[in-house]
Symmetry: C2
DNA sequence: CGCAGGTTTGACGACAGTCAAGGCGAGTGG
DNA sequence: CCACTCGCCTTGACTGTCGTCAAACCTGCG
């Protein structure tokens, strides 16, 4: 049935139901996936850069990608994180340049979705347009949530919310733990404050760090700590 | 040519080029606008509420609308502002409930775009789908900008950025000045801090307030103040 | 071994939150 | 007309959180 090798890979992809072309049938998939490429990134590698006029969007198959911007004062600010099933750089589909830098936080696998593909498809495949709209709305929801949860309140509270969010991206029992520098950019605090809070949370038994880049979250304690704050 | 009275109003609308159906020709407009209603709101009136399963999106024709959320601790946080030409509540087009509260800040005129309309249209009007995608991307860009500009750095800096943003929404020389409570929700600070900073900026001649709800911004001084901070 | 990069910890100070009092304007009722 | 209240804004004094500066530490690596 499926002649294109990449189409076969995609058909077996664990996240296809959640990915951009999840609404298409297999034969359509076969035609489409001629153009789709799988990309692999090491931690720290850029996926794309702000201002660049890109020709593709990307769907994350595994790992965590951060979206970040540099403001006029040269300070980097992490806007949000994207994980499995999230789509990045959709502005490219509109012929716009990327609005932010996208950088791999962990080992990352993404599917590259060239702009031309969508341009051709939208002519007859209306379901795809709908799918893309759902993705846009999702990204916007994420942005709103990030703003309310990770930008407001005292430093400790923002850190607890971040840990909660990181647990959403976890494969197994260990979550990816950002560097203190990355945390500080996500939560608008200094690396010293981030370090102090993480140390404190370790002492409180909310979190263990087997190594520098991973953590084991003790969810009951974490949730209890968040509830405790809310009651104050 | 145009039989529908609302279509005539729309054809003459100053922002039609920038509005959702700007890409359609006049005869298409005539068919469409049977369903479109103009809505007028007073300051403080809600346009829609979070969690409600809405049946329409809205395009702002005049005035300023704020999007806000209440977190689990009962604190309201303003996510962003929308002005002329911006579109709100597009999640309704996907059959989702509204993700935030939308409340009029000033006198507001919006066009109501029922979900059914878009559902019918997307079948043959591919340009509309494209238009909607552009809008989604724009909303996402706004969210990113809000995050980088209004959530980071010292309180004074955030206030200056807010004033700059408010100037984008101005009709004439006067800008709408939010209440201190609203400012505090936008910038994640207390109303006391907001009040102190605004008073200070008045003393510095960056801003004059003829009345409580309006301000005259002295842009050269404002921009100078922002540059001054960047150099530190 | 020494170096570099990231992390942790401490001391100190400043910015912003908290608590409290007072002012101003609009609307209400005597 | 004045007294009164109410909501919102302003200002002050004090406190605490968090940023700044600095030193020490750990780990991997040449």
């Amino acid at each position: 049935m499926l002649f294109n090798p990449q189409a076969r890979v995609c058909a077996e992809c664990g996240i296809r139901k959640h990915a951009l072309f999840g609404s298409l049938d297999l034969s359509a998939l076969d035609r489409i996936h001629v153009h789709i490429a799988s990309v692999r990134l090491e931690p720290g590698q850029p996926l794309y850069a702000a201002q660049i006029s890109g020709a593709a969007a990307f769907t994350v198959r595994s790992g965590v990608v951060r979206l970040e911007r540099t403001n006029e004062r040269g300070e980097r600010r992490i806007l949000r994180l994207a994980g499995r099933g999230d789509t990045l750089g959709m502005e490219a589909m509109l012929g716009q340049s990327y609005a932010a830098d996208a950088v791999a936080c962990t080992e990352v696998e993404v599917c590259r979705l060239p702009r031309s593909l969508v341009e051709d498809l939208t002519k007859d495949q209306i379901e795809l347009a709908r799918d893309m709209m759902r993705r846009w709305q999702r990204a916007l929801d994420d942005a709103d949530e990030w703003l309310t949860e990770l930008c407001a309140g005292p430093a400790r509270h923002r850190m607890l919310r971040l840990l909660l969010k990181l647990s959403e991206f976890a494969d197994g029992s260990e979550v990816w733990l950002p560097s203190r520098l990355e945390m500080s950019a996500m939560l608008d605090m200094t690396i010293e404050t981030a370090s102090r809070i993480v140390s404190q949370l370790k002492r409180e038994g909310i979190l263990d760090a087997p190594d520098q880049r991973h953590a084991i979250l003790h969810m009951p304690q974490l949730l209890a700590a968040l509830r405790e704050e809310a009651s104050d």
